[in-house]
C-alpha cells in the first residue's frame, strides 16, 4: 500500500482548559479528497492551523510524505507542498491580482528576489487558469466579488505549487452559480495537477460530489469516518451535527 501523503496521529490541542482537539488520527492518500465536517467549534479550522504550524499542537504528530514536520515553520511547510485557504479570504489588499500571485511565486533567495524579474506571463497563466480575465488580473481585491476572492485564494495557492491543499469554508458567502464554478475549478485542478484536498465546509450539498471520504468532528473528537452517504446517515453524526 502506498505511503499516505499526510498522516495525523493522536493530535491534541488545548487552549487553557478548553480541549479543541482530542486525539485526532487520520491519513490522506495522494490524489484523495477528504471532507472535514462538524458543527461550529468542532475543531476543523484548528486542524488546519496545526497542519500549517499556525498553532502548536499540545501533543501528537503530523507527518508529510513520511517525514515528521513538527520542526518546520509555516513557510517551510508550504515549500514542502502544503498550502491553505482561509474562511475569510486574506488577499494583499493594496496589490493587484497579478501582484498577489507574484508574492506567492516568490523565492526565499534574497538575491534572486532582487535580481530576478517577475514572470508576468506565468502570473497571467495562473490567473487565467482560475478564471480571471486579463482585465481582472490588473485590479485590486476591493473590486472583486466574494467568488472572485475565492478564485484569487486558489490562484495564490496554485502559485506555491502545492501537493496538498487545505480549503477552509471554500464555499462560504458564494452564490449557487459561484459554488458551481469553484467546484468545477477544484475538480479541474485535481485532474490536471494531481492535487490532494482536505475541504472544510458547512455546505454539505456542495461538498458531497467532491469528496472521496469524510471525517466528522464534534467537540474536538473524531466521531465518524466514511463515505459521504455513510457519515450523513450515521446516528451519532445526525445527533451531533444536525441536532436530530
Amino acid at each position: 500500500m502506498a505511503e499516505p501523503l499526510l498522516e495525523v496521529r493522536d493530535l491534541h490541542k488545548s487552549f487553557g482548559g478548553l480541549h479543541a482537539l482530542r486525539g485526532l488520527t487520520f491519513n490522506i492518500a495522494a490524489g484523495e479528497t477528504l471532507g472535514l465536517i462538524g458543527p461550529n467549534g468542532a475543531g476543523k479550522t484548528t486542524v488546519f492551523n496545526l497542519i500549517m504550524n499556525e498553532l502548536k499542537p499540545t501533543a501528537g504528530e503530523i507527518r508529510f510524505e513520511g517525514k515528521n514536520i513538527a520542526r518546520l515553520a509555516t513557510h517551510a511547510r508550504v515549500k514542502r507542498g502544503i498550502a491553505r485557504t482561509y474562511q475569510v479570504p486574506k488577499p494583499f489588499g493594496e496589490m493587484s491580482v497579478a501582484e498577489n500571485i507574484r508574492v506567492c511565486m516568490a523565492t526565499d533567495d534574497l538575491w534572486k528576489l532582487i535580481s530576478g524579474r517577475p514572470d508576468e506571463a506565468a502570473e497571467r497563466d495562473i490567473g487565467q487558469s482560475v478564471g480571471f480575465t486579463d482585465q481582472q488580473i490588473g485590479v485590486q481585491p476591493s473590486e472583486l466579488s466574494m467568488g472572485d476572492l475565492r478564485r484569487l485564494e486558489m490562484a495564490r495557492n496554485i502559485a506555491v505549487r502545492p501537493k496538498l491543499l487545505l480549503l477552509d469554508e471554500v464555499f462560504a458567502g458564494l452564490t449557487l452559480g459561484e459554488i458551481a464554478q469553484i467546484s468545477e475549478l477544484l475538480v479541474e485542478k485535481k485532474q490536471k495537477e494531481g492535487l490532494t484536498y482536505i475541504i472544510v465546509s458547512h455546505d454539505l450539498r456542495a461538498l458531497a460530489p467532491l469528496v472521496d471520504r469524510v471525517l466528522v468532528l464534534s467537540f474536538g473528537a473524531l466521531i465518524a469516518e466514511g463515505s459521504f452517504e455513510e457519515v450523513i446517515n450515521d446516528e451519532g453524526v445526525r445527533e451531533a451535527y444536525l441536532g436530530q
Binding site: H75, A76, V78, K90, E94, L110, R156
Partner: protein, 315 residues
C-alpha cells in the same frame, strides 16, 4: 528594467541635474538649509524602508543614528582613527545595533514594537550620559570632530550625492520583487508565511538596510556638524521630524520621504522669521496634520494623481 522604471529614472536624472545646478543660483544660507534637508531625507528613507514598507513602526530610529554618530565621533576624535575607517566602522556598528533592534520584531509588532524601539532610544540616551562619560562626553557630548569637507558648497554636494545615491538605490530596490514581498508583510504577515516566504529573513534584510542607511546618515551628520550631544540626537522633536517627513511625503515610496524632507525643512525655515522659538514645531505639526488628513498617502500621492490628471488631459 521595465519601461516605466526607465521613464522614472529620467525623473531622477532631471532631479539630479537641477540639484547640481542649484548652488549656482541660490545663496549659501539656502544651501546650508538644503544640507539639513538631505540629512533628514536620508534618515526618513532609512525609516521608510523599515517602517513604511514592512509596517514595523520604529520610534527609535535615533538609536541607530546615535550608534553611528557616537562610534565615528569616539573613534576619530578620541582615538585618532581616520574618518575613512571610522565611518565604515560606524555603519557596521549600526548594523549590529540594527540586529538588536530586530530581535523584538520576532515576537511583537504594532504599538508594542514601536514602544520597545522607543525604549532602545531612551536606553542609549541615558547610556551616553552616564556610561563612560569621559569617552562619550556625557551630557555635553563631543565637539571639535573632524569634518569631511568644509564650506557650504562642498557639503551641499557631498550630502546631496549621499542622499541621491541612497535614494536611487533604495528606490530601485523596492521596485524589485523584494519590495513587493516587504509590502506584503505590512498588509498581512501571516499570509506571507502562507505564501511560503520566510518573513524573518525578509524583515532582517529590511532592518539591516535601514540600519546601514541610518548609519551612513548618522556618521556623515556628525562629521558635518563637527559635534555630537545626546540632547541633539535623542531629542523627541528629532524623532518626530523624521517620522513626519516620511509620512507627509508618502510612506513606503522612498521618493515620498525625500519630498517630505525638503517640504518640512523649507517649511521650518520659512516659519523661522515669524516663529523663532519652539512654537514653530506646533505650527508645522498642524500643517503636517492637515496634509496627512487630506491625503494620508502623502505629497507623493498628490503629485502622482496630478501627473495622472495631466496625462489624461493631454490624451
Amino acid at each position: 528594467m521595465d519601461k516605466t522604471t526607465l521613464k522614472l529614472l529620467g525623473g531622477w536624472l532631471l532631479f539630479g541635474v537641477i540639484m547640481c545646478l542649484l548652488p549656482l543660483v541660490v545663496s549659501t544660507g539656502t544651501l546650508r538649509i538644503l544640507i539639513f534637508a538631505h540629512f533628514l531625507a536620508i534618515f526618513a528613507m532609512s525609516w521608510d524602508i523599515l517602517s513604511g514598507r514592512t509596517g514595523y513602526i520604529s520610534f527609535g530610529h535615533p538609536f541607530l543614528i546615535g550608534i553611528a554618530g557616537y562610534t565615528t565621533a569616539i573613534l576619530s576624535f578620541r582615538y585618532g582613527v581616520p574618518i575613512y575607517f571610522s565611518i565604515p566602522a560606524a555603519v557596521a556598528a549600526t548594523m549590529v545595533g540594527g540586529t538588536l533592534f530586530f530581535v523584538p520584531a520576532l515576537r511583537i509588532r504594532g504599538t508594542y514594537f514601536a514602544l520597545v524601539t522607543l525604549a532602545f532610544m531612551e536606553i542609549l540616551y541615558q547610556m551616553t550620559k552616564v556610561v563612560a562619560p569621559k569617552v562619550t562626553g556625557g551630557t555635553r557630548g563631543i565637539s571639535g570632530i573632524e569634518t569631511i569637507v568644509t564650506g557650504a558648497v562642498p557639503n551641499y554636494y557631498l550630502t546631496f550625492a549621499a542622499m541621491f545615491v541612497i535614494g536611487l538605490l533604495l528606490w530601485l530596490l523596492v521596485r524589485t520583487r523584494i519590495g513587493i514581498a516587504l509590502s506584503a508583510i505590512q498588509m498581512d504577515e501571516e499570509a506571507v508565511k502562507s505564501a511560503g516566504l520566510n518573513t524573518t529573513k525578509l524583515k532582517l534584510f529590511a532592518f539591516m538596510v535601514s540600519a546601514a542607511v541610518a548609519g551612513i546618515g548618522g556618521a556623515f551628520y556628525v562629521h558635518y556638524l563637527g559635534s555630537i550631544a545626546p540632547r541633539g540626537i535623542f531629542e523627541i522633536n528629532f524623532l518626530f521630524t523624521i517620522l513626519i517627513a516620511a509620512l507627509i511625503g508618502g510612506a513606503g515610496t522612498i521618493v515620498g520621504p525625500i519630498i517630505g524632507a525638503y517640504f518640512l525643512t523649507m517649511l521650518l525655515e520659512f516659519l523661522r522669521p515669524v516663529l523663532p522659538g519652539m512654537e514653530r514645531y506646533f505650527l508645522y505639526g498642524i500643517v503636517a496634520l492637515v496634509v496627512y488628513v487630506y491625503q494620508p498617502n502623502g505629497i507623493h500621492s498628490l503629485l502622482a494623481s496630478a501627473r495622472r490628471h495631466l496625462s489624461v488631459g493631454k490624451s
